[in-house]
């Protein structure tokens, strides 16, 4: 109960601190909200792009041509045991031959086509590995897959991931700096008060806690503003973006919403974490008890 009362008092002290900070609250929240909006926007774009590229990459197929005398169903079952394999489609030599005959005028001769399996990997990264494993099977005569395309797609996906990480790191550092400087100013303006509290025997938790919570509140407040801005942008831009992307790649229709709630969650988490972390670091550095 005593600890609960202390925590409650720390929250009250945080409220007093926020109230005392006056206009600088708005300044900090505005700057952080801008940083978080940019961060959220970029995160959303990178996540969507990654999703598009992944969906695009997942259309890549490995075609395996079987030797005569092997049952396509049995081989397909064997291949579907490979962990990275998502789907195996069988095209028997008879079906392929009928299709060919219906498309082209073919002289009546014995069917020269092999039984074929079309294999899809669970993600573009796995295409090469699946191809290598399938090639090793004794039933497989030959394989064919778009190696260069798969590699380019994977390189692009990795680039997006690295770019997203770099932008997150840069914006987190900027956010940390803004919060750290603000809390530093607050600490400087209350240095005498802090000295008095320390001499009275007030615990470091009670002295530093309100600054840390204030930083966390700035982070949460800024994230809330940034989320609202992005949500409004989503509302107005979504139909247009969906139309453009679907015209580019029709298989994307169900994937476009991916990333919005995750982005908002990350923004809120990052805001609070960076806010509290920046304040904790600044308090530790500048409050000497």
């Amino acid at each position: 109960m005593r600890h609960l009362r202390i925590f409650f008092r720390v929250i009250i002290e945080t409220g007093i601190g926020v109230k005392r900070s006056g206009w600088s609250n708005w300044l900090v929240v505005s700057i952080l909200a801008i940083a978080l909006t940019i961060f959220g926007g970029i995160l959303q774009v990178t996540m969507t792009m990654k999703n598009v590229v992944t969906a695009w990459g997942s259309q890549l197929e490995v075609s395996a041509y079987l030797k005569d005398g092997y049952q396509p169903k049995r081989v397909a079952r064997e291949i579907s045991q490979i962990p990275e394999v998502q789907l195996v489609e069988i095209v028997t030599k008879d079906v392929a031959w009928d299709e060919m005959k219906s498309t082209f005028k073919v002289a009546s001769l014995a069917n020269p086509l092999p039984n074929t399996l079309h294999i899809r990997a669970s993600n573009p990264d796995a295409v090469e590995a699946v191809a290598a494993k399938v090639k090793l099977l004794s039933a497989v005569e030959n394989i064919r897959y778009p190696l260069k395309v798969a590699r380019k797609i994977n390189e692009f996906r990795h680039f997006i991931e690295i770019a997203g990480f770099a932008i997150t790191a840069a914006l987190s550092a900027a956010t940390l700096t803004v919060i750290g400087n603000t809390i530093h100013l607050l600490i400087e303006s209350r240095q005498r008060e802090i000295e008095i509290l320390s001499l009275m025997g007030v615990s470091p938790f009670y002295i530093k806690g309100p600054f840390v919570l204030q930083g966390a509140a700035y982070g949460a407040g800024s994230a809330a503003v940034a989320i609202m801005v992005l949500a409004v942008m989503h509302m107005y831009l979504d139909p247009y973006i969906t139309e453009q992307l679907v015209s580019l790649a029709p298989f994307l229709t169900n994937n476009l919403e991916y990333g919005m709630w995750q982005t908002f969650g990350v923004m809120l988490g990052l805001g609070v974490l960076v806010g509290a972390g920046g304040s904790a670091w600044t308090s530790g550095r500048y409050i000497k008890i």
Binding site: R5, I6, I196, S198, L199, M200, V202, I289
Partner: protein, 231 residues
């Protein structure tokens, strides 16, 4: 209650205290006197662990402060009531809140806080100023708030570092008489001062510090500019 053993404190080769030995018993009332720069404030700062000695040991309530971990310093300070020359009140808090602050920080419930603050304010006769802010009070009143804050948690030791330094003679006497009344209730009171009037008016134990050394320690003493060496 307070014990210093062969304590020396120097700042970059400049000695502030030299081989000081001192013992103040529980419930005792003592003055630490001496001219400016004699080392009075340094000695006080050692007692509330704002400083640590260069050599020697400092004990308060049986605790060796040299061995006190940084995390334990707040616990020590809660057992000491400390009064300062510049009062050190929180300017944006009322008298009541200044006195209540430490109790709230310790998680004492509000009913108990109110009871203890009222009691402390009544000891210093400032119940009627509970809602005032420090800048609305005279110097003497501000120091009485400082005393109320120092005693509100019932500490066994009260340290006062030049408590009358900013006050006129009449108010100064009122303040030390108030501290004397508090000492009568069993609290150890240790006051550093260079105010001859208050020391001579009370005739209590007087420890004379000069150039960082104790040159005189007399029960029922007076503060003379050149004391008889009577340690």
């Amino acid at each position: 209650m307070i014990r210093l053993q062969n304590v020396t404190k120097d700042y970059g080769g400049r000695p502030a205290l030299v081989n000081v030995n001192l013992h103040i018993a529980l419930g005792e009332f003592a003055f630490l006197v001496g001219p400016s720069g004699a080392g009075k404030s340094t000695l006080m700062r050692l007692l509330y662990r704002e400083e640590t000695p260069t050599s020697g040991s400092v004990f308060v309530g049986g605790v060796n402060l040299n061995r006190l971990h940084k995390r334990q310093v707040p616990l020590l300070r809660r057992r000491l009531g400390t009064i300062f020359q510049d009062y050190k009140l929180l300017p944006r808090q009322t008298v009541f809140n200044n006195v209540a602050y430490i109790l709230r920080a310790l998680g004492v419930d509000e009913k108990e806080v109110a009871k203890r603050v009222q009691s402390a304010l009544s000891v210093v006769s400032l119940e009627h100023k509970a809602d005032a802010y420090p800048d609305e009070l005279s110097g003497g009143e501000q120091q009485r708030v400082g005393i109320a804050r120092a005693i509100v948690n019932g500490p066994p030791v009260l340290l006062a570092d030049e408590p009358t330094g900013n006050l006129d003679p009449a108010t100064s006497l009122e303040i030390v008489q108030l501290l004397e009344r508090i000492a009568e209730r069993g609290t150890t009171v240790f006051i550093s001062t260079h105010d001859t009037n208050i020391v001579n008016a009370l005739r209590r134990r007087v420890i004379y510090l000069k150039g960082g050394e104790i040159v005189s320690d007399v029960d029922s003493g007076v503060y003379e500019l050149e004391p008889n060496l009577n340690v």
